[in-house]
Amino acid sequence: MTLTLDTPQLVKTQPLLVARNVSKSYGAVHALRDVSAVVYPGEVLGIVGESGSGKSTFLRCLNLEETPDSGSYTLDLPDVQGNLFDLDRYARRMLCATRIGIVYQNPHLGLLMHHSSSGNVAERLLVAGERRFAVLRDKASAALDASEFPLDRMDAPPVELSGGMQQRVQLAKAIALEPALLLLDEPTTGLDVSVQALVLDTLKRLQQDRRITMVIVSHDLGVIRTLSDRVMVMRRGQVVETGLADQVFQDPQHAYTQQLVHAKL
């Protein structure tokens, strides 16, 4: 059963993020086929799917790390125009550094492991042009605090921290500049359950307090269900189903989604 839903009637705001028909192949492998997504300001979109479904590739496209073969991507922000996939390297870097935050599954991708934690956060501010040491310290500690990172450890290098703490440093770095869009790639995968709960709690709190628009990729349905307003299910590079989080989990329409939901413990 397919069901096309109408365009919003009540919510008049423009979507923050619109990605249309994003396709990407590596040789004969179609990593993404016509993937489209719309995210409204303050909304949390969860993307689920098994390994190789293309969900992380799509997220990397949204972070402009990857350029798809075709498709468009726009963000409704002042001074940001046109298809972001067409931006040159410099414009991409500035946009990502100032407007988009990302938390990777692997902290090594997002952090300088041997620099101080506060320095990792400060780097974002430095790229954005902050040149006052005292302000860097203040803003870095505020961001670390918002990520519920213990401030007495703020100058410890991430290599000396636990996995959960490393994710908090990544999160602090991602939110230090109050990004318009926060991307999370398997933010809790590989953490043990109690630490996972803490990180989820932090994310939930950020969502409530700051209404940050987020896109979360995870193969863990529990994580997606806890954090997302809406869910997009991907399989073999394609979107098989999108809908409200509780609807997708309670009344999955597509055979694959039903399989996925039923397989959850």
């Binding site: 870097r93 620099h115 790229v127 005292a134 100058d155």
Partner: protein, 304 residues
Amino acid sequence: MTLKSLTRAWEPMSYGFLDGSAKREIRRKMLKAIAVPGCQIPYASREVPMARGWGTGGLQISCTLIHPAMRIKVIDQGADDSVNAASIRNFLARVSGAPVTMDTLQADLIQSRHRIPEERLRADQILVLQVPNPEPLRSVQPNMSIARQMHADADYGRMWLQLYEQIVRSGRVMQGASYPSLVNGRFVMTPSPIPRWDVPKLNMAQHLTILSAGREKRLYAVPPFTRVAPLVFDDVPYRVEDHGHLTCQRSGAAGYFMNEIPQADGTSTFEVSDSELGVKTIRKAEGAPAHIGRTWYENGRLVQ
């Protein structure tokens, strides 16, 4: 017309040691470097009769610029009398017939390793600095291809982060020599391993500075009257070495960059690093004719 009238007579060696095409290449690259201040320009870096890492970069620039009327001064860490400085000076004189001098004021071309003379350089003088490692981003980005992209994007966040880290760990900026500096508001360069004391001398200087790394095959320039700003946080001021209050134990010169000489009893004495300045100070004290020019620092303070 004979063939002989169209060609030059055979010579055992080109003037200034380097062959004409090598000099032409370096001249072009120097012009390019002057046009884009602080930007590292690659060049071929020929063989010279000296091991790489001993000043071959500076030597090639000097060999290219030299002409028979050009007075040459060569210093090594401020001293005219070190073995390396003396060898380079002798070599340059031999291959060009150019006169040599130790007096900064009389030199037209100054090739230097790791120091800028204390006496102010004029618009008609050229300073050639030997550079061991021209890439300021090397410590933060070991991949040189990416480092080059970072220069292109003016992506210097990591450089600043390095300073941040030093302040966090040690309470102050620990970078001593080779203090990264922003040239003309665009490129971050390493000013070669000159002490922090010397970096402000490059800012809006009258003279042309050419920096050249022979082993790394890169040259770059600070043209006259170009802004050179050491990277520094707005609220953490740039500090030069604390030498302003020191006095040279041999010459009595005070308020300049000093060499520290440890003593057997654990204390230290100091000698002025710019050796010819020390010599001139002694001569002056003895009543001999010696003219000391205006210096960048007076009474231990930088004069703008």
